[in-house]
Symmetry: C2
Subunit: 268 residues, 2 copies
């Protein structure tokens, strides 16, 4: 999916919601455990009940890998099931030397057909470039994450008081453009969001941390929205685990609808 198609979907649906399918087999409703692939069944029902409300699904690979081969089967079935007009994100946070990153890119862009992957910048240019060699696919680079530990190194400052996460953005801007790259910025980092928009006014930002992690939609929009919207706001646990019974998918829909309805106010 290219940038214009994503913008069109946002305008059409009046939503910039991304739903995180961090599906933990320990947390899904018990009645699903009788299915051959309970995790896929859970995802399928969540997708069916929310696909008109969101513009992106983010699959956190850790939750699938932890189930071994069965987990990879669930992951692959889920990515195939996501409608093509919804932006898909492999939240894999990969990054390695060139020949290895090339293999990861192959995994998520060829073996599976994700639109994008989250990439860790620590190893620099040649660890990210192989992901940019695939047509019409996106790199979502970690800049300033939503967790407490983000302060440990991402705020590390140089002589000119430039922080590491700002340096990551400044440098990586030269690797590609806003049609191929997005950045992860935590929903709880309002001041930084404003500063980041000065450096990259046009890029999309993937914003995790709304909901379970405590970020506020209004503050994110005020500080981060641009003329194209430019935001994908992710919520995972507070949507997919909104209910835990036979009506879990309906409960998830209600939780997603609540955020989506708020979002409508910001999309003209």
């Amino acid at each position: 999916m290219n940038k214009q198609e994503l913008i069109n979907q946002i305008k059409l649906k009046k939503s910039f919601l991304c739903i995180g399918l961090d599906t933990d087999i320990q947390k899904i409703p018990e009645h699903l455990l009788k299915f051959d692939d309970p995790v896929f069944e859970f995802n399928k029902q969540i997708i069916d009940s929310t696909k008109d409300l969101c513009v992106a699904y983010k699959l956190n690979t850790a939750f699938y890998e932890s189930n071994g081969i069965n987990g990879w089967k669930s992951l692959m079935k889920t990515i195939d099931y996501i409608p093509k007009n919804i932006f898909s994100i492999a939240d894999a946070k990969r990054g390695d030397i060139g020949n290895t990153s090339k293999m990861y890119a192959k995994t998520f862009f060829e073996t599976m057909d994700f639109d994008s992957i989250t990439v860790n910048p620590y190893m620099g240019t040649d660890s990210v470039e192989p992901f940019l060699d695939f047509n019409n696919k996106w790199v979502i680079l970690l800049a300033l994450t939503s967790n407490k530990g983000s302060e440990d190194f991402q705020n590390f400052s140089n002589q000119s008081n430039i922080k590491l996460y700002q340096q990551v953005i400044e440098k990586s801007m030269n690797w590609s453009n806003d049609s191929r790259m997005m950045y992860v910025v935590g929903a709880t980092k309002y001041d930084s969001l404003k500063e980041i928009r000065k450096i990259i006014p046009d890029h999309f930002l993937l914003i995790p941390g709304i909901g379970a992690q405590g970020g506020s939609l209004d503050d994110v929009v005020k500080n981060g929205m641009n003329k194209d919207c430019g935001l994908l706001i992710n919520s995972s646990r507070s949507i997919i685990y909104a209910g835990n019974g036979v009506n879990f998918a309906e409960n998830a829909r209600e939780a997603a609808l609540k955020i989506k309805s708020e979002m409508e106010n910001y999309i003209s």
Copy 2:
């Protein structure tokens, strides 16, 4: 495997060689393609022919993931096949918010029985700690990597001229001790290796970059060896792809033996 057991193996074998099983199905000898699982067959033969020469095997997860479910099968069979007295490394370079890192830790320490995993420090303390919650398992934290792009951010310096990779080491030293943590330092970074040894004299270092990437064993030993050896020197492509015919495993043995024989000189 604990630290003393690893040191004992190094002394016993007079080797601190780690062999990287970066097994690419496109690069293995053609006659193996008739096997049900060509990648596992390749690894099995490499392990059989080199297990007396090395003290560690490092499995680069990218090469397995890129084959999808079959790749994960090969990975799981390989980790089960590695003898328990050889240190195993999941070279996965993972790292995410706490609940996600916990899932990755479960993947590599429970679903699979690796001794250790490489972890990316970018997201800070709470992204690494979940990996340290598993008894007798190790975190190998990226400090200064061997690729060109390592200069982009790892050398980013603060007001006191402390570089990011030094900050990563200094901070993370408080998260655990040298019985639970190692660091990745590229084989081509001799001067930095000497500096790093001043900060962490006792930790093991995983050193990639010997062979295909151009590092020299002698220079690494001179700058990085400590009283316990304290080095795991990895070579991947130059060993496992030393030959490409029916004798590939023998050729790999010859290539490994050449490095191992050099290593004997440094182990008293």
